[in-house]
Each structure stands twice: as structure tokens, then as C-alpha cells.
């Protein structure tokens, strides 16, 4: 048998056009975000450091300062942003042009899987349960893409993306956006947090993200350590805020002003 031609040597038009369909998905996201001044990923690589809390209050502070802000709750499996923004459930108005985001405290626009799931229900997908690990990640990435591209964000100065712990969602985000987003990092002072956040920051840097700065959260006697300073020194990025357990409105305003 002669050598069989390779995939790339077959160039006839393909009715399925799968690469074109993927391209159309990305174009939809790009067009939707054209009215957004900047998209910022809030991440840490570590759970329990207060990413969502910081994200929600930062968005409110931005809005109070006159900069239109939105939050996309990218923690699809543990969404908490609507509660933090005081958003009660109401069916999201839908039109052919997209889904209307909810409006939370201080006028922050928001979309979250919490608005779409039954109360208390985990995010579960229809489909074969056997070997679901093969497709579940792709399904979540598609959901994230739709929350970015199908929500009528309108004109925003800043869209904050509240990422879950770990790096998977960040990697998906880079692919969906077509470019690595700038990253705001949240840590607590402990060495354990520093180690986890360090890995995340290195990964983001290797991927090409701009590191905007560090928010050191839960600063006080309860969590001793120097994670903020350590990370700031290693990566050469500023500490944008050191937040105590009960930050004042001025603390949030200061963070918003430095972002």
C-alpha cells in the first residue's frame, strides 16, 4: 500500500467545518467583549483565600468610583458571587442577542451558574456517566465560553472573572479569549498559600499573562506569614492591598484606585 496522505494534506471543503465552528465561537466572544475595557482574571491557585469576596467588593468599589464593572463567576461548581453582590434569583431575560446579566449592589453586572442551577444542586450535565472525566472538562469550558460570549454585558470598564482554585479554568480562559488575560492574584499571608499562589503566578507568567499585582487578604494575627511580600519580591509586582478581616470601604476604594 502506498503511503496514505496525512490529515493536513486533505484540503477539500468540509461540510462539517468544525474548525470554522470553533472559530465562530471565538469570534462571538471577541465581538461580545468589544465593549469591555479590560478583562481581568482574579485567581490564586489556592482555595479559601477569599477570591470571590475580594472580586465582589472590588467590583463594587470600581462601580462606586464611576467605572462600570461586571463580574463573571467562573467558579462553575461553587458559585458564590450572586450572594456576595446581594442578587436574588430572577429569570434572566433572553433575546436573540443574548442573556441579560443580573445587577447587584452598586450596579455591578453579574452572571453566575448559581443563577441557572436549582437551589443547592451541583452542576451536573446530561450524558453518559461512565468516563465522564473525558468530556466534563470540555463541557465546563463550553459553559464558560457561553457565559463570556452570550451575555449582553454592554459597555463595561472592567469585567472581573472570579476563577476557582487551581489552574484549569485559567487555561480554558486563555484559549477562549485567544490571549492570556491580565491577572490579579489573591493570597493570604501563610507560607502554604504562598507556595500554591507562587505556582499559579509562575504558570500565568509562562502563559504570557500580565501580573497586575497582589491582594493579601485576611491580614492579622490569625494567619501569620509574609506571602504578599515574598510573592511581590519574586515577581516584581506591587501589593495592591493588604486587607484585614474587616476591610473598610476606604480599603476597597484604595484597591480599586490602584488597579
Amino acid at each position: 500500500m502506498p503511503p496514505i496522505r496525512t490529515y493536513h494534506e486533505l484540503t477539500d471543503a468540509d461540510r462539517s467545518g468544525l474548525p470554522e465552528q470553533i472559530g465562530a465561537q471565538r469570534k462571538r466572544v471577541a465581538e461580545r467583549l468589544a465593549g469591555v475595557g479590560r478583562v481581568i482574571a482574579v485567581m490564586s491557585g489556592k482555595g479559601g483565600v477569599g477570591k470571590s469576596y475580594v472580586t465582589a467588593h472590588l467590583a463594587r468599589a470600581l462601580a462606586r468610583s464611576g467605572r462600570a464593572a461586571g463580574v463573571l463567576d467562573a467558579d462553575l461548581n461553587g458559585p458564590t458571587i450572586p450572594r456576595l453582590l446581594g442578587i436574588e434569583h430572577a429569570p434572566r431575560p433572553t433575546s436573540q442577542s443574548g442573556i441579560e446579566p443580573a445587577t447587584g449592589q452598586d450596579g455591578v453586572r453579574c452572571i453566575s451558574m448559581a443563577m441557572l442551577l436549582e437551589d443547592g444542586a451541583p452542576l451536573a450535565f446530561k450524558g453518559p456517566s461512565a468516563e465522564s472525566f473525558v468530556w466534563r472538562g470540555a463541557m465546563e469550558a463550553s459553559a464558560l465560553r457561553e457565559l463570556l460570549g452570550d451575555v449582553a454585558w454592554g459597555s463595561l470598564d472592567t469585567l472581573l472573572l472570579d476563577l476557582p482554585p487551581g489552574m484549569q479554568r485559567y487555561v480554558e480562559l486563555c484559549d477562549i479569549l485567544g490571549a492570556p488575560p491580565p491577572v490579579l492574584t489573591v493570597t493570604i499571608p501563610t507560607p502554604e498559600s504562598r507556595d500554591a499562589v507562587q505556582r499559579a503566578m509562575r504558570a500565568a507568567l509562562e502563559r504570557g499573562s500580565q501580573l497586575l499585582g497582589i491582594v493579601e487578604n485576611m491580614v492579622g494575627d490569625e494567619f501569620p506569614g509574609s506571602a504578599g511580600d515574598d510573592l511581590s519580591g519574586e515577581f516584581g509586582v506591587p501589593i495592591l492591598a493588604r486587607l484585614p478581616w474587616r476591610p473598610t470601604p476606604d480599603a476597597w476604594a484604595g484597591l480599586a484606585g490602584r488597579l
Partner: protein, 147 residues
């Protein structure tokens, strides 16, 4: 994924997609030179993987709708997550004239049920207008041949 007719050294062309309703998928490809047809059969896991990418083998017959994958694939979604009423999206989707004519050819004793099936299909996908193309897609995906 592409198919090559080795005898003719020609790329085979997509012909038809069938979803029998058991989670599997069949797609046929035909050699433009010799006419040989082969079928690609995927198991439920493979079929799901394609669905999870939000793409359609054989190409889209209707444009992607807002939050289509979330609406279609999330098993634990709220019944009232979306307010489709005002926009004409969903159960109250508009029926095009051609689709209405086609629906009227369905025997009257099952027409109501058939109409509801298409309306539910449109609602799950956020489709605003039911057209013959939407009906074809629903038939293929739901295994409704003859409706």
C-alpha cells in the same frame, strides 16, 4: 476528523448525520470518485465529547443560540432560569409559514403532541423561530423520523 478513500486517494465528503436516540451518532461519508459510502459510528462517550465542544458534525443547520450548551446539557438547571417570554424565544417560539405548513401535514390526532415536541426542542436551545431546518434538526437529534 477526515476520511480518505484509499483506493481513489480522494477525500470523502460528509453525507448525513443520524442520532438514533441512544446517545450514539452515525455519520456517513461518500467518495466523490467511486461513490463508496462509509459510516462513522461513535459511542455515547465519543458523541458527548463532540457535543461538549458546542459543534455539530455535518455543520450547523440553525445558528447557535445564547447559552445553547448550558440550556441543552445542564441536568440540574432551574426551570425558570430564563425569561424567554418577552422575546419570543422558547415555548412561545414563532413558527415560520413554511414550518406551519409542514406541521399542518401531520395527522391532526398527533399534531398537538408533535408541535409541543418541536416547541420544547426550541425552548431548550433558545431558538426564537421554528423553521423547516429547525424541524429537520429536531427530527435527526430526537429520532422523530416521519414527524
Amino acid at each position: 476528523m477526515k476520511f480518505l478513500c484509499v483506493d481513489c486517494d480522494k477525500q470523502m465528503a460528509f453525507e448525513e448525520r443520524q442520532l438514533p436516540g441512544d446517545g450514539t451518532l452515525a455519520a456517513t461519508f461518500k467518495c466523490p470518485t467511486c461513490g463508496r459510502v462509509v459510516a462513522m459510528l461513535t459511542n455515547p462517550m465519543e458523541t458527548q465529547l463532540v457535543s461538549s465542544l458546542g459543534v455539530e458534525i455535518g455543520g450547523r443547520t440553525v445558528p447557535a443560540q445564547p447559552l445553547e450548551t448550558v440550556r441543552k446539557m445542564v441536568a440540574t438547571g432551574r426551570d425558570d432560569a430564563f425569561d424567554d417570554g418577552a422575546s419570543g424565544v422558547g415555548r412561545g417560539a414563532l413558527w415560520s409559514q413554511e414550518a406551519t405548513e409542514r406541521l399542518n401535514r401531520v395527522p391532526s390526532f398527533v399534531r398537538g403532541m408533535v408541535k409541543r415536541i418541536y416547541a420544547d426542542f426550541a425552548k431548550e436551545r433558545g431558538i426564537a423561530e421554528i423553521t423547516p431546518a429547525v424541524m429537520d434538526t429536531a427530527r435527526a437529534e430526537l429520532g422523530l423520523e416521519g414527524m
